[in-house]
């Protein structure tokens, strides 16, 4: 007896969905095992989590707040993926965005909100965009592996933020905590619906809309799609791949930088450590699960936000560390990746006589 894979005769248009559902169910089952292994009753825990997330006002608010940066980092990674480029550096670009915004807010806090907020947004675009240009230039000019460079720059950006938090930006009134002074009112994004939901959410949705339009309806968007489908064909048709790579990385970094702006000006109103709970890394999963589709980004950001909020509740209720998020993300990415083959193939048993 031997297991082997057999190509399906015809693939139905929606055959991805049952496969994906089974993958997610498997992931949930594995998360049960995780909870059980640390002595938490998974049934009880998920009941609490479900109630807190979906049946309380706070749960919904928290979900929408957590979705906001994930939409942006997910879009950033998905944009690079359109050209089969890996931007693993959204985490660092996020941090450089927060850095640039904080610099602006601390130095120009006296400006009124109508000039300050756009200024901060531009700063975050510059901060994240320039940081994204580093792997972009190295890739397009010299062909250096963008996965490694963009990833390593995350550690540099985190150290750069720490350098300021533990140095010249530390709030004298903070009892030596590594946090900056709070932003002035004019540097804060407005909240809506009497809740924690802030303007960053609409910024994120707007960015996704614009990106979708640019990719589908403009010349440069077509070039990107062509280069993603067939690099050689694109090159022979006269498209400058190097230039396109650089543009993609700059824009991708800028979008991740905007996520930083939205967090620092919309949620925390100051720069502090761990302002990103791994939003940049999560963007990779958001983009992968979404298959770079705009609607998919909404859905997968929602899923990831549920995981973040669940982890917070598990932390409060059971004292589990927040890094359980990474574990869940790893499990989901594994099960989804492993399931994809079953869209086109089926598992068969062959009897060897």
């Amino acid at each position: 007896m031997r297991l082997y894979l057999e190509k399906r005769d015809h693939i139905k248009a929606f055959s991805r969905f049952p496969v994906l559902t089974i993958a997610l169910l498997l992931a949930i089952f594995m998360s049960f095992l995780v909870l059980w292994s640390v002595g938490v009753n998974p049934f009880e825990a998920y009941l609490i989590v479900g109630e807190e997330i979906f049946l309380t006002d706070y749960g919904w608010q928290d979900l929408l707040v957590k979705i906001t940066p994930l939409l942006l980092t997910g879009a950033a990674v998905a944009l690079a993926a359109q050209m089969k480029l890996w931007n693993i550096g959204a985490e660092g670009q996020f941090h450089m965005g927060t850095f640039a915004v904080t610099w602006g807010a601390l130095n120009f806090g006296h400006l009124n909100t109508f000039s300050l907020i756009p200024f901060l947004l531009i700063l975050s675009i510059i901060g994240g965009g320039l940081w994204g240009c580093i792997p972009g230039v190295l890739k397009s000019r010299f062909g250096v592996n963008e996965i490694i460079t963009s990833l390593l720059l995350n550690y540099v950006a985190a150290a750069w933020v720490d350098y300021h938090l533990f140095g010249d930006w530390r709030d004298p009134a903070s009892n030596n905590f590594p946090i900056t002074p709070g932003f002035s009112e004019s540097a804060r994004l407005p909240n809506y619906f009497d809740s924690d939901v802030h303007a960053g959410l609409f910024l994120a949705l707007f960015v996704i809309l614009v990106l979708t339009f640019l990719l589908k309806k403009t010349r440069i968007g077509m070039k990107i799609q062509l280069a993603g489908d067939n690099l050689d064909a694109a090159r022979y048709s006269g498209i400058s791949i190097g230039m396109l790579t650089l543009i993609i990385f700059a824009v991708s970094g800028a979008i991740a930088g905007m996520a930083g702006f939205s967090e620092v000006s919309g949620v925390h109103y100051r720069l502090q450590q761990n302002i990103s709970l791994g939003y940049g890394y999560t963007g990779i999963i958001v983009a992968w699960l979404a298959r770079n589709h705009p609607l998919g980004i909404l859905l997968s950001s929602f899923l990831m936000a549920v995981i973040f909020v669940s982890a917070e509740i598990l932390q409060i209720e059971y004292g589990l560390p927040i890094s359980v998020v990474f574990l869940y993300q790893g499990i989901i990415l594994f099960t989804v990746l492993g399931s994809e083959i079953f869209v086109e193939y089926r598992l068969r048993l062959q009897k060897i006589v």
């Binding site: 640390v38 890996w86 010299f142 460079t149 540099v156 750069w160 560390p321 990474f326 574990l327 594994f334």
Partner: protein, 309 residues
């Protein structure tokens, strides 16, 4: 002089986990499988070794179980990217997330616990060599083990039939397949053995370098090892040179801090990452100029019988 000796000792210590992980990466990439899960695997190895050491006090057992844990967790990557033909890069990232989460979850209760690190064993006569003797021959057993691994990996990969087969899997899997060699089996076990070595590299952090548990104890060294595999041109002995060069950079960062140099530790912390990017760029440019094609030709490609991708 004393400063230099201390610096070299620290360089070898810092380089050892990098060397072990790089060797693991070299083995699996030679077989054609990219393993971007190194950072996560090192964390799993570090955690396993720490727990075993805390409860049994036996370094041998700690290292052995770290290797087994590294190998077992790597099997997930193998299952997904080899058996189920998923994208190796995405699957490797999943492995890093998985390992990071695992070590964070089970390590949270260990923060602050400690034990005595494994002892240095001077090798007779050799450790008396001026300058380098102390650095290379008055270290703990894992350092010596890493020398052994480097030479053994080189010997197996370049001097045995097994190694030839492994390397062929990274160059021309279709040919291997038509010769009746199982591509999946060779790739899977190369990946798993590599994962075991990466796990031991992680163990070095928690039982030899600083025997108290902190979250994310490896601090990105797994990613430096990913770059080192390229820097070493997929060669085990060049991996030694690369690992100690980076060890030296990391040691210098540490030493400069203790010298009371007036530079923020956070700025110094960036240096190894910048250095990695710089070196990676130089190596890439040099290889392109000389038209060197050392990278395994089928690296990262899905192998599917009768299917060209």
């Amino acid at each position: 002089m004393e400063f230099l000796v201390q610096l070299l000792i620290a360089a070898v210590e810092m380089g050892t986990p990098l060397l072990l992980a790089t060797l693991g990466g070299v083995i699996s990439e030679r077989a054609g499988v990219i393993n971007l899960g190194m950072e996560g695997l090192m964390l799993v190895g570090a955690l396993t070794a720490f727990v075993v050491m805390l409860h049994t006090g036996s370094p041998i057992l700690a290292v052995a179980l770290a290797a087994i844990a590294g190998g077992l967790v790597t099997m997930l990557h193998g299952l997904v990217c080899l058996m189920l033909r998923a994208n190796q890069i995405a699957s490797g990232l999943a492995l890093t997330l998985f390992g990071t989460g695992l070590s964070g979850l089970f390590g949270s209760s260990l923060v602050g616990k400690t034990f005595n690190p494994i002892e240095d064993i001077p090798i007779p006569f050799l450790h008396k060599i001026p300058l380098i003797g102390e650095a290379f021959f008055n270290q703990d057993i894992l350092v010596y083990f890493s020398y052994f691994c480097a030479v053994l990996t080189w010997w197996v990969l370049f001097r045995t039939r097994l190694g030839l087969n492994i390397r062929s899997m990274g160059e021309a899997p279709e040919v291997c397949d038509s010769l009746g060699l199982s591509v999946l089996a060779y790739r899977f076990w190369s990946l798993v053995v590599g994962g075991g070595l990466i796990g031991i590299g992680g163990a070095y952090f928690s039982i030899a370098m600083n025997p108290y548990w902190v979250d994310f104890i490896t601090a990105g060294r797994g990613w430096i090892a990913v770059a080192l595999v390229i820097f070493a041109l997929w060669h085990p002995l060049k991996a030694m040179a690369g690992a100690y060069l980076f060890g030296l950079a990391l040691a210098l960062e540490l030493r400069l801090q203790t010298l009371g140099l007036n530079v923020s530790p956070y700025i110094l912390k960036m240096m190894p990452y910048f250095l990695t990017i710089l070196v990676l760029t130089v190596v890439t440019i040099k290889n392109a100029r000389r038209d060197i094609k050392v990278m395994p030709a089928a690296l990262g490609q899905v192998f599917f019988r009768g299917l060209k991708n």
